[in-house]
Assembly symmetry: C2
Homo-oligomer: 572 residues x 2
């Protein structure tokens, strides 16, 4: 039997398979977790791939029902219906990969040229003697002046350590400089690291970056521990206003969580947290203020005034973060009371401020920020979309992890779904939730007002109608989607869609004028655009208009570890 080679991008994985093997089977045999809900029957249309090079089998009728002619012309195919007839090269769009696998490749995609704003210098000093009796700091500065021309100031805590550190390291030392300030003295072998933090209302993402190579060494996601003080930012701010102690507590739980996470990451890399010499943190204005311990009382009342708009550099130790002695935390600027530094990160990472067409960019989360770039002029707003898309406030909602239903389909009156890890379903994550609402609407289970109707799979429990997705057993309850869940999603998607319409109206535009829609953020890479269109969350525009920005928060954050004051670009 004839065999052909297939090269899968962006993984760079190659394999040899018999003629007529489906691309779906090739991928699975190579360990690539290509999504399929219908197990290759051609009913779900999820296993979308793009042909880069080499002939494959002809387009069949099933594919035409899922892919429009324009996309077919671009080389889009369904992996389950495309067979091997020669050597070929296939690109797998991020959307067609299982969630966890997508997360794994993110690290590779964001390696950037390394020019860190925090500089390190290896110094070898001559010990003091009676004929050369300079003070320790001045001795260090003299050696540094060979590398660094401007005058250097010194962190006061460094000054306290300088005499012992120089002597313990036998006068060979790695000096760490941030913006003309000596912020750390490391042993020569220590590799300087940076930490980028996306402080979401519901989720916190951390990226530990090697500042020399520019690579992300580790990343971690965790639930924001502030959620126990209120799911939304308004209730957390109310808590903080209520008492200084509670405000302190809100700050501490986040700092503790970051320290724990950092320590874990460092331990697995066998490094010390004091090799972290730089931080960049983004969050919405409320998260930003609560994180820094800034007052939020004035932020809660009209005209919703932040204490500060501009970017800030605060000593990590003043915030209670473990780090190199004098390391700074850089906070991107806020735009307004409810449009914060995380939005600035999205704008920077997507290059929205340089676009010359009409582009909408959405960062979907508990607070969804939307920016309209009208030929480079930017308008932004924030909408309270709530934590439903992150699995909260949904009866069987859960976060993106093993066992979460991430795709859902009703075909031939049968329920089909895929879980992360392909194991038993234990709940539903964001992308699954949007799929479910779309499918329920498309199959008439809910009407256009969101009202659920009694029919197959629908039952009443404690007076509330619910759609049964997966039956449990004695140990495990059924997984259902309730009338109340539908209402939560309506509120969330309604808020987002309203935001889009308000922005368009500001410029007297309609949906048809939009050239590009960028769906940013981790969640953006997971959702099914057609489902999001079906439920009215996104406007009904051709697929080609939608662009997913690969992990833009991480991108922007890492960028900031390397570029000083890039946020200045955005100063009004």
């Amino acid at each position: 039997m004839k065999k052909y080679q297939v090269l899968f991008e962006p993984m760079g994985l190659t394999g040899e398979f018999p003629e007529n093997t489906s691309i779906l089977d090739c991928a699975h045999k190579l360990g690539i977790n290509l999504v399929t809900v219908c197990s290759g029957r051609g009913t779900c249309g999820k296993c979308l791939i793009k042909l880069i090079k080499g002939p494959v089998s002809e387009v069949n009728e099933t594919e035409k029902t899922h892919i429009n002619p324009e996309e077919l012309a671009q080389g889009f195919r369904l992996a389950c219906k495309t067979n091997l007839i020669a050597n070929c090269q296939i690109e797998i769009p991020a959307i067609s990969l299982s969630t966890l696998q997508r997360a794994q490749i993110e690290g590779q995609e964001i390696t950037i040229v390394s020019e860190p704003k925090v500089k390190t210098y290896q110094l070898h000093l001559t010990p003091p003697s009676f004929s050369a009796h300079q003070a320790d700091l001045e001795r260090l500065q003299t050696a540094l002046s060979r590398h660094y021309q401007t005058e250097i100031t010194t962190d006061f805590e460094i000054l306290k350590q300088i005499s012992s550190t120089l002597r313990e390291n036998h006068w060979s030392i790695q000096a760490v400089i941030n913006n003309s300030e000596l912020i750390g003295l490391l042993s020569p072998a220590v590799r300087p690291l940076g930490l980028a933090v996306d402080l979401g209302t519901t989720k916190i993402a951390l990226y530990l970056v090697d500042l020399i190579s520019g690579q992300t060494l580790q990343s971690q996601g965790l639930i924001n521990p502030q959620t126990t003080y209120g799911a939304d930012i308004v209730s957390r701010m109310t808590t903080a206003i209520h008492s200084q102690e509670d405000a302190q507590k809100l700050r501490e739980v986040v700092i503790d969580a970051l320290n724990t996470s950092m320590t874990e990451m460092c331990r697995s890399l066998q490094v010390e947290p004091d090799s972290i010499v730089d931080f960049v943190v983004v969050g919405n204005t409320a998260m930003h203020h609560l994180f820094l311990g800034l007052p939020v009382k004035q932020l809660c009342k009209a005209p919703f005034t932040p204490a500060v708009d501009s970017s800030l550099d605060v000593k990590a130790r003043e915030l209670g973060l473990n780090s190199a002695t004098g390391a700074y935390v850089h906070l991107l600027p806020n735009i307004a009371g409810y449009v914060g530094a995380d939005h600035v990160a999205m704008i920077l990472s997507t290059g929205l401020h340089r676009k010359q067409d009409i582009t909408l960019a959405l960062d979907i989360g508990t607070n969804t920020e939307i920016c309209l770039s009208h030929r480079g002029s930017l308008s932004s707003l924030s909408c309270a979309s709530g934590p439903a898309f992150e699995g909260a406030h949904i009866k069987h909602g859960m976060r993106v992890t093993q066992g979460a239903i991430e795709h859902f389909l009703i075909a031939d009156n049968r329920i089909e779904y895929q879980t992360i890890g392909n194991g038993t379903a234990v709940g539903i994550c964001g992308s699954g939730i949007i799929d479910i609402v779309a499918q329920l609407y498309l199959h008439g289970v809910i009407d256009r007002h969101g009202r659920m109707h009694r029919q197959a799979y629908v039952r009443e429990k404690e007076g509330v109608l619910e759609f049964v997705i997966a039956s449990g057993n004695g140990d495990r309850p059924d997984i259902t989607f309730t009338q109340k869940d539908v209402r939560e999603i309506q509120l969330a998607k309604g808020a987002i869609r309203a935001g889009i319409e308000v922005l368009l109206k500001t410029y007297n535009l309609t949906v048809k004028d939009v050239d590009e829609v960028i769906i940013a953020g981790a969640f953006g890479t997971y959702i099914d655009v057609s489902s999001a269109i079906s439920i009215g969350m996104l406007p009904a525009l051709p697929w080609s208009v939608f662009v997913r920005s690969v992990m833009p928060p991480a991108w922007a954050l890492k960028w900031h570890l390397f570029l000083l004051d890039s946020a200045v670009l955005l100063r009004r």
Copy 2:
């Protein structure tokens, strides 16, 4: 009887007295505490005055025994032997005033033109609204930019207060700026203050200054509480090296003493410590390092390396000092391990670095620093003169306060002395101690080796010879000066004189080449130069060569509150 007017300078006091009244009596009747040990008999020669204008009685023979012809030609006279014959104007040198009165006039003499380096601006802001929704900090910065052109950074703790402070003050506020940093937000009526601190090994002096008028509002002197951990700096450093806890304790006792003193001074002025917006602190290198919590281990061992030489600005709150939120403590640069920032203050205040002749300047204290200016080229050293001149380690030694013997004389085999406040003697302060040793030597009670001999007023107690100065009664012991006290003074004066000789030798000079000797520091203004020459502490040069610098530490300190980076002058 005819009456004439006398005007006394620098007090500016005028009075009318009968013809032939002695100037001494005139002064005493006006409440001027002109020194006299012999009660006007002409034997002590202490009541030195200088005639500015108008004839007085002729110079008599007694005066000629105390005043040389050159000085007589300059107008110097003894007040007790000079009588009124017409209206006249008299200057009273600081040396002829009683110690306490001298301290009182210091405040008037050091008022300087006010151009503080910390600036304050009165701002009236428009409250935020939907049409003007700037963040609070940016609103303040916009208002400030009308006064202050460069970009302003903001102390992080100020940022935490800004929203509430602006609203509590109804948007009218006094912004405090230090070197482009917003360091304080004061109510509009608060007067900004500065605190200058001379951190001596034995004594601490504090001067609270009005930064708008330039006037010293209050001053206080106190014993350095570190003395309980060792009288000299080496034993204190040994304590600090011994354990981190002890080092911390040494730091804390000074900080606590400063806070207590500041609070007292502020209370008596009915102001809050948070109106103190600037600090300047000097001390020798060891005191400087212990005050800041810098390591001293390397300072104790050859080649005696300081952690830092250059001037520093450290947040007062990081040191634990009460102050305006973001106020800085400016520390003058150190020169070497044992020549510190206090010496730099003396050089700056005496203008030694600008002198074109050969000048010696001495700051006498527990550590005496001496600088030789050889036509503007400076060499400095420090000698361990010990705390004897400050009354410590002397059996009946005491500090400059009520009841201390400040002048001493043996005339016609009788003991005569003057106490501060003219009351009963309770001990001997520094100037009295030098007088006593000089008189004992001049009258053969001790020989040139310092050995005490049995004769009148000398007795043996517990195997040690001692000279009885004042007999006590049942409640109060005798005041004596022991053989051991003589040895202490020999060590102290020997150290100082050796320092002078070493400096002269460095430039191949002899005592005769010296054009000027500046005796700086509070103690310098009190000692009797001829006594100091008699005991060999100072070289035997004409009176006119000796200049007393009026309160130079305070001068230099105040200067630093007003001049940014003046210490740069001294950078090598």
